[in-house]
């Protein structure tokens, strides 16, 4: 029998127009905790989804215990002993712990034997070194406890390999201290754990081996004790800068926006920064660092509950999206299909929605004026649409994004917050958007850009703020703006 419990060889996965995994070979030794690390979009999740049967691989082979395995669905993966625990749990909040563990499987019988179910659930939880009420509803559990239920569920499938996708991302420090012994216990039971994480500390504390991915390829493979932090970071970010960025031509002016000690519930803590006129201020950080939450707090969609927002030297109260709009702030949301645009309506209607008054004569909407406005932005942004009355759902991602931008340009926002402005759009449209950002700052507008793509943040921003855990970890400018430094702040 080979040393490796799992070998994935030459796995390739293509999505229309994108190669998500390019000749990835990934091997895991039996009974270890193996870390899988990489930037957002490096291909970790795709690889694990291939392993779990969510996506079929375009080509490549998977071996389990030396035997080739044909995984064509989640059920087969489960039967083969591979379980994955996603960040958003696959649990039903209104059901008890015991039931969630055995959801939909009652020993193939039509009736439920509660006593046996409870005892089995209790035994599974006990095998993890815990003892809690298995009749409790999952909705009442803490995140750490839910994590535990997911692990117990995986064990109930007789899993040999458990994949954990950033399990600690929403745990408090105390909970993490409780959580690690569980993983070590799993290891002691001979179960192999694939641990996806961004946090270097955790990897050094917990893991035996590490595989580093970047741009759909494996860039490093090592035992943890033989690799330094700097090496890991370098392998994560040594990304080819194949994208040209237009040169920044604007020198930022006076302070236009100042945020002082802003906070909201547990999500945001003590945020303070300044934004200058004509500046592009980048916000880097990992998914869940609190950047989108901050954007919504400044814009007012989910207002802050403490702290101050000062616009042009005057403190303002922003309690709703309408307040944000009135104060000349625009937010191009991260999810253009859910919150940015109305897909069933056309280009013109989506552009003018932020200021219908200006295209009305009296109470009447002036169609001609509306079309003129829409045409202006279609031309300015180089939006490709067959007509001004095309439904948004029929446009490509890039062109949709341009319409989402148009609507805030039209409302004459002085401060534009762009949340992941180039997510899921093609290279040409990306470049258009970069040029536009430059152009806008030349006109005296200021931009806050949130992006998970490091090269983009570094290439476009005048300054970069790095967020982590709802706070600003540091500010980088000039020569300090390197991928390694950003990554260090973001993950440590």
């Amino acid at each position: 029998m080979s040393d490796y419990i799992l070998e994935m060889k030459h796995v390739r996965k293509e999505f229309p127009g994108v190669v998500a995994l390019d000749d990835v070979s990934f091997s895991v030794k039996r009974g270890v905790i193996h870390a899988l690390i990489g930037e957002n979009g490096a291909g970790k999740s795709t690889l694990m989804k291939v392993l779990n049967g969510v996506y079929p691989a375009t080509s490549g082979e998977i071996f389990l215990n030396g035997q080739q395995l044909d995984i064509s669905g989640v059920k087969q993966a489960q039967a083969a002993g591979i379980s994955i625990i996603y960040q958003e749990f696959n649990l039903i909040n209104t059901l008890s712990v015991a039931e969630n563990i055995f959801l939909g499987r009652y020993n193939g019988k039509q009736t439920v034997h509660w006593k046996a179910l409870r005892e089995k659930a209790k035994a599974l939880i006990a095998s993890l070194g815990f003892d809690f009420d298995v009749d409790k509803l999952v909705g009442r559990l803490s995140t750490a406890e839910k994590q535990l239920v997911e692990i117990a569920k995986a064990l109930s499938f007789d899993a040999q390999i458990i994949v954990m996708d950033e399990p600690t991302s929403s745990l408090t420090e105390k909970e993490v201290d409780m959580f690690f012994p569980i993983i070590e216990r799993l290891k002691a039971q001979g179960i192999t754990v694939i641990y996806i994480s961004h946090k270097l500390d955790e990897i050094y504390r917990l893991c035996d081996d590490v595989t580093i991915m970047r741009d759909g390829k494996v860039t490093g493979n090592s035992t943890v004790k033989d690799i330094s932090r700097d090496e890991i970071i370098e392998k994560m970010v040594g990304r080819s800068l194949d994208m040209e960025y237009p040169k920044r031509t604007v020198t930022p002016g006076d302070v236009i926006l100042e945020v002082k000690d802003l906070g909201r519930r547990q999500q945001l803590k003590g945020i303070s920064f300044q934004l200058h006129k004509g500046e592009i201020l980048g916000f880097a950080g990992l998914v869940g660092a609190g950047r989108t939450e901050l954007a919504e707090a400044i814009f007012g969609a989910d207002p802050a509950d403490r702290g101050q927002i000062i616009l042009n030297g005057k403190p303002v109260s922003i309690r709703s999206a309408l307040d944000g709009k009135k104060n000349s702030i625009g937010l191009v949301t991260e999810d253009r299909k859910e919150t940015g645009l109305v897909l069933a309506m056309d280009v013109t209607e989506n552009t003018t929605i932020t200021d219908l008054k200006s295209v009305s004569s009296g109470i009447l909407l002036n169609r001609k004026a509306e079309e003129k406005v829409a045409q202006k932005y279609v031309d300015q942004l180089n939006t490709k649409t067959p007509s001004l009355h095309q439904k948004i759902s029929n446009l490509s991602g890039g062109n949709q994004q341009k319409v989402a931008l148009s609507k805030w340009l039209y409302s004459n926002s002085d401060i534009l917050i762009l949340d992941e402005p180039t997510r899921g759009i093609d290279v040409g449209a990306k470049y258009d958007i970069y040029c536009l950002m430059n152009e806008l700052t030349e006109q005296g507008k200021s931009i806050i850009m949130i992006s998970s793509e490091l090269p983009e943040v570094l290439g476009m921003s005048d300054r970069v703020l790095v967020m982590h855990g709802g706070t600003i970890k540091g500010e980088l400018a000039g020569r300090d703006m390197t991928a390694e430094k950003v990554m260090k702040l973001a993950i440590d």
Binding site: V74, N93, L95, L103, G104, Q110, T111
Partner: protein, 320 residues
Amino acid sequence: MNKNRSTLRKSELQFFFLENAVIIVLTAFVVFMVFYRPSFRSWANLTTIINDCCMYGITALAMTAVIICGEIDLSVSSIYAWSTCLFVILCNSMNIFSAAVITLLVGAVWGLFNGMLVAFLRMPAFVATLGTMYTAKGLAYYITEEKPINTGNPMLATIGKINIANISLVPIVFLIVLAVLYCIMRYTKVGRNVYATGGNYEVARLSGINVKLSKIIVFVFTGICSALSGIMYCTRVYSGAATYGSDLTTWCVAAAVIGGTSMSGGYGGVHRTIIGILLMAILFNALTLLGVDGSMQRFIRGLVLVVVIMFDAISKAKKR
């Protein structure tokens, strides 16, 4: 740490009151009635309450299952009225047992129809069952030619007169339905799948649960149970009419939600609805004893539904 715990307790206490506000108010009202009107406590009145509430209660139990599945059934009032008409007509030409079986089967077909619309077409349950509500009512008018129909079936009269210490057959049937539905929802795979489907449709589907079957089954429950409620009513009044039971839906939804079953689905239980059923029955019995007239009772019934739904929605928002 300690401070944390005490704030937690405080919020849990607030939570408890918010969640049970309606029950608390209604219970207070009952206690008040017990002292205020001695006739309220008489054995005769108590048995009236029990006999009354069990009739609608049968449907309320099934409604609870629908709500647990995350849906709603507005057609129960019409299926009930339709069933009284059908049952009485059948009683005039055959023995009551065949008549009852046929009526129950037709009720099941109504439920199946609703369930298929919701499960396969993915039609919102409220629109689908609203359509069925009108259709069933229209059909009830049609088969009775818009007039109440009586039956002189001697067997029905005999059964209707059965009573032990003033308690009629209805509470016994209610208890049987309660036992059956409770066991299905608690101890069978099908029942647990209904909970899972209502709790989180997508997760249930991905876990390999037949979510469509779950939806269909609960509507079949309401179809059968509202037919059964209708038959029970016939054992008392020996007649059927399309106008019967117009308040049934309001009553059942209110009873289920008062009992603690959440409109958002996945949470609750048919046994919990007993408290809702009792409170609704006691409330309206008390109003009658206090001399409150029909239209005022109707007003209060509607208001109870609105208040209960508002509380349910607010407590859901608080939980988030």
